[in-house]
Each structure stands twice: as C-alpha cells, then as structure tokens.
Point group: C2
Chain length 336, copies 2
C-alpha cells in the first residue's frame, strides 16, 4: 500500500439546464440538430473535458441518462441537463462557454434554463488555477457570463466547511432535488479499502464498503485508482448517485451526491455515514416547489445519530429551498 | 438646502457582552472597580471613540442604560454590555482592544461573554480604511483577537444587500433579540425633511416623520446635522431603539435598530417602512432561546405589504436564531 501526497478531493460541481426546443422549432431544425444532449458523441465531450484537464475513463447509460466516469470525478448527461463534477486542480469553469457553443452546434439548444455552480471550501486554495483560487474570483468569472447570477456563501466563511453557490435563480420545469454529503477526516481503517493492491477487485470493494446497498436497484459503474482512490456512478431510471473517495490520511474526503427522489433521506444518510464514519461532514439539500422531499429542513433536524450540528442555514431562493448543515462527531453521544 | 457629496450611511455595528463579576469577586476588588460599565466617565469613552474617529454629541440615560449620540451614529452602555454603531469612514475595530483594557482597568470586567460585529455591504468599500475595506480583512482582524470566532455572509455576496456577521457563538444569560431594518433608495420627498434649514427644529422633524410614534413611550434624544442628516436614540426601560438617516439622493440610507422585546414586530416594521418608503431594504432578526419573538422566521413571512422578498436566510447558530431577508418594492402590488 503506497501513500501518495496531498490531493484536493473537494469537487467543483456544475449543473446546467437548457430549455427544451419547442415542438414546432424541432421541425425547422435541420436533421443534425437533435435537441437532445445525449446525441453528442464521446469525442465531442472529450474535447470539452480537455479544457478542464480530465478524461473519460468509462461510460454507462440507461434510457434517461448517460453517465461518464472521469479521471477526476463524473459527468451525467440527460436530454437537456449536464452535471459535471471535477476534483483536484481541474479548471471546470473553462468548459462553460465552449460547452454552450458545442451544445448549440450539435443539438440546437441555445437557452440556459437554470445554472448551478457549487463547491465547498478547498483544503489548499493556493494550489488551484485561476479562476478557482477563491470563490470571489469564480463569481466574477460567472458574472461575466450571466448578468443576473446570485452568489451565496453558506456556513462559516472563516473556517473549513464553508459551501459556495452561484445560481441564476430561474428555476426548472420539473420536480428537482439534490442531496450532497461531503465528508472529511474519515475512519482510517475504512479508507484502507480504497487502496489498490494486487488482489484488488473494484466490485468487491463496492460490495464490502456498503456502497452496493445504498440504492440497491442502481446500475453501477465503479473504478479503483492506482495507488488509491475510488469513484462510482449509479443510475436508477431518471436518477443518479455518485461517490468519490480520496482515502489518504492527511486529506481524506468522501463525497456522496444524488438526485434520487426520496420523500425522506434519513435512512440513506445514515447508511452513508455508517459506511464511511467521517469525523465531520457538511450536507446540502436543494429542493424546488414540486420536489417530493420539500420542505427540506426536516432532513437536518435530530435524525443524524452520533453527530452534533454545528451550523444550519436555510436559504429560501426564488425557485429552490436550500438547506446546509455542518456536523461533527458527537464525542459525548453513546452511539459515536 | 445644500446638497453634499457621497456619504457611507451603512454602519459598522459591534455588541460586546462582558461576564458579570461573581458576587464574591466584587468584594475582593478595590473600591475603584465597579463591575458596571455605566460608571465609566464620558472622558474615558471619548478617548476610545477618538480611535474610531467620532465624537460624543449628546448623552441621555435612564436607570438601565446610558445612550450616547455620536457624530457618526450611536453608543449604548448597560451594566455589562456596550453597543457601538458607527457610519462613514470610521474605524470601529480599532476600539476593541483599547476598550477591553479600559473596561478591565475601570470596572474590573475581564471576560467577554459574547461578541457580535456586523454590517451590510458598503456602497464604496474602497473609501474605507483598513481593516474595513473588505469583510475578509475584518474577519482576519477579529480572528486574531478571538480564536473561536465564526464569520458568516448572508444574502447575495456578489450584489449589494449582503450582510456580514462575526460572532463568538457563546451566548448570553438573558433573553435577547435585536431587529435591524437597513433601508436604501428612499422616497426623495420624505428625505427632504432631514435637511437642516433656518427654521429647522429637530423635535418637529421627529414628530412629523412619524419617528415619535414608533415606540411612543420612549425617551428620545435626536439631532439634525448641517447641512443634512438625522440621528436619534430612544430608551424604553432596558430597551433601546436608534435611527440614522443619510438623506442625499445618490446614497440615501436609513437604519432602524431595536432590542425592544416584542413578540411580533409586524406593526413596528410596517410603521418604519411607511415612514421612509425605501425602494429596497434588508432586515435581520437575532433571537436567542429565551427571546419572546422566537421563532423569528414568522417575521419574514407574508407580513410586509407592498414589498416582495428577494432572498431569505435562516441561520441556526449555537445560541441564536438569525433571520435575514432582502426585500424590494413590489411594483406589481396594488399597495405599493
């Protein structure tokens, strides 16, 4: 088992929703314009991802979505939505303008319906490339692209565990909810599972870690990196979940994200925390008016055993309720 | 009526709570140590305020509190709490360490119980002196004094109307609630009342503006500045309210603040908005567990006629609930 140096696990996360082509407009487009992002070839996506500094390592798909496992995290492509999540020193924001041009060219989609860029505070912001060295820098970059974007900082801005968001506040025309659990300082014994060795089998790791049981019916694509690190994408009809693990002791980090439409996330959250046993984590939940889990505030109240909540914020935006919580292991609790 | 140039109305606000001297400790102190901040002389406060760049212009008191009207806003001194609020290019944070030394020397109070520093985003941050040029700079200054302070940014950090807070999250041992309404782009006809002319009478201004009726039983100290501007302090038993007005058209601003312990602020908020008619305002409400108005979230729901809420945030901190709302005149409403 070989230790590697520092790695920035905390991801940059972008979600772009395009407006559907109206039915009559689809007809006037020439045949090469599909109005569907899933018709874009792997090669075209690779050209965009080159700008971000990451590569596609694997692809899975179901009827609703194509899931790309990347050298640095994941990408999910639905008919009119792209979710791009990249860790390390990637330059995610470089992709936006070229992606918009490519999408217009390939699919005829031109109007952005809503846009989200979010991330937690980096462990080592100085190691990032501009404009990712501070959230102010990122927000200025985005302000040039979107004149009415709104930038928020949730949690303590003078500590670790702050979470930043940039959004257009314009809303989407379907139920939408996203849960993220960003975990730090994980149990070292559990993290050992995510190092590659001669007998490593990623399917076995996905099973014994408990990940396989998080959402049992999911179609899973998983990868174990050399010398360490783990990524997985799961597809369940129109929903996804994704996990990325940086097991190194000095910077251990696990992210869990899903838009699986549960009414209550209590059981799923407890499965995730029980599998990884973080010393601290932050959790965010977005839900729009039609989302089944709304009002999301209940998810943050008294249901997380063994952890105490340090901070909670509820942000009522124009179209979404957003909840943020920062939790630490409760050393006074008998369960911890 | 003579127009003056730009003035930074938005205030820096600091609230410091000291721990009471325990009864047995009071006895061992020599007679010059009162354990009571109200025994500090005007001259001693003047020396502290010199560092901030403001002067005392008037003093009122009741049995609970001494209220100072300052050349730039206000100061309220209770037995173990100081509230200092200063506008313009004042350097409020310069006062903390000297104030702590002076309080120790004069009263024997040495332990800070809780601490709050807050302000909205400045109109012209570049005109401020360090460390007030950005909230990051202010938070770094405060981090050196308080190792466990927490810094928050509520509202849109890439727009005007963001509101910053630094606090120790340590709590106080009595019911506490504070409402602030920070108003911008005010009705120009109303603002004309706050210019000084030959026939000006501040008592008349306080009456016709409606301020006299906000909390009718209050003991009021008010001042009209030359050529324009208005300040007032009101005392009601153990509570205060304070208003500061910058009437210039290019930077019009009115602040209203009170810790008057109402269960519901609806009527008071509507009186204030009706008196000044801002095009936009932000409102914050702090309430600890024992405060009569808690849960404060209701104050921000559907009670403010003629305004639409752009953003709402609820921050559940260790000892306080803090609500933030940003509102704009609703041009679609029949009432506006």
């Amino acid at each position: 088992m070989c230790e590697v140096g520092f790695f920035e696990g905390p991801e940059k996360l972008m979600e772009v929703w395009w407006k559907c082509l109206p039915p009559d407009q689809t007809k006037v487009l020439d045949n090469t314009k599909s109005g569907d992002l899933r018709t874009i070839s792997r090669e075209k996506w690779e050209r965009i991802l080159e700008l971000v500094n990451c590569q596609i390592i694997s692809v899975t798909k179901n009827e609703e979505m194509t899931a790309y496992l990347l050298s640095e995290s994941s990408m999910f492509v639905s008919k009119t939505r792209v979710i791009l999540k990249t860790c390390g020193q990637t330059t995610l924001l470089y992709s936006i303008k070229p992606m918009m041009s490519m999408v217009k060219e390939e699919c005829g989609l031109t109007e952005i319906q809503d846009f989200f860029y979010s991330r937690m505070s980096f462990l080592e912001p100085k190691l990032q490339h501009a404009p990712h060295q501070s959230f102010d820098q990122e927000a200025q970059w985005l302000d040039k692209l979107f004149p009415n974007g709104a930038a928020y900082a949730l949690g303590r801005i003078n500590g670790r565990g702050c979470w930043y968001l940039y959004t257009l506040n314009s809303g989407v025309d379907e139920p939408d909810q996203t849960l993220e659990i960003l975990m730090q300082d994980l149990d070292p014994d559990i993290m050992k599972e995510f190092y590659k060795n001669e007998s490593s089998d990623v399917k076995h790791v996905t099973k014994i870690s408990g990940i396989k049981d998080f959402i049992p019916e999911a179609l899973i694509d998983d990868a174990l990196f050399d010398p360490c690190g783990y990524s997985m994408n799961g597809l369940i009809n129109e929903s996804y979940f994704t996990i990325h693990i940086t097991p190194q002791k000095e910077c251990s980090y696990v992210s869990f994200e899903t838009n699986f439409k549960l009414v209550c996330y209590k059981d799923l959250i407890n499965k995730v925390l029980c599998a990884f046993k973080p010393a601290k984590f932050l959790m965010t939940l977005f839900a729009n008016k039609d989302a089944p889990c709304s009002p999301s505030i209940k998810t943050f109240e008294n249901i997380i055993t063994g952890y105490k909540r340090e901070d909670f914020q509820l942000c009522k935006m124009k179209e979404y309720n957003l909840s943020y919580g920062h939790f630490k292991k409760d050393t006074t609790s008998p369960i911890s």
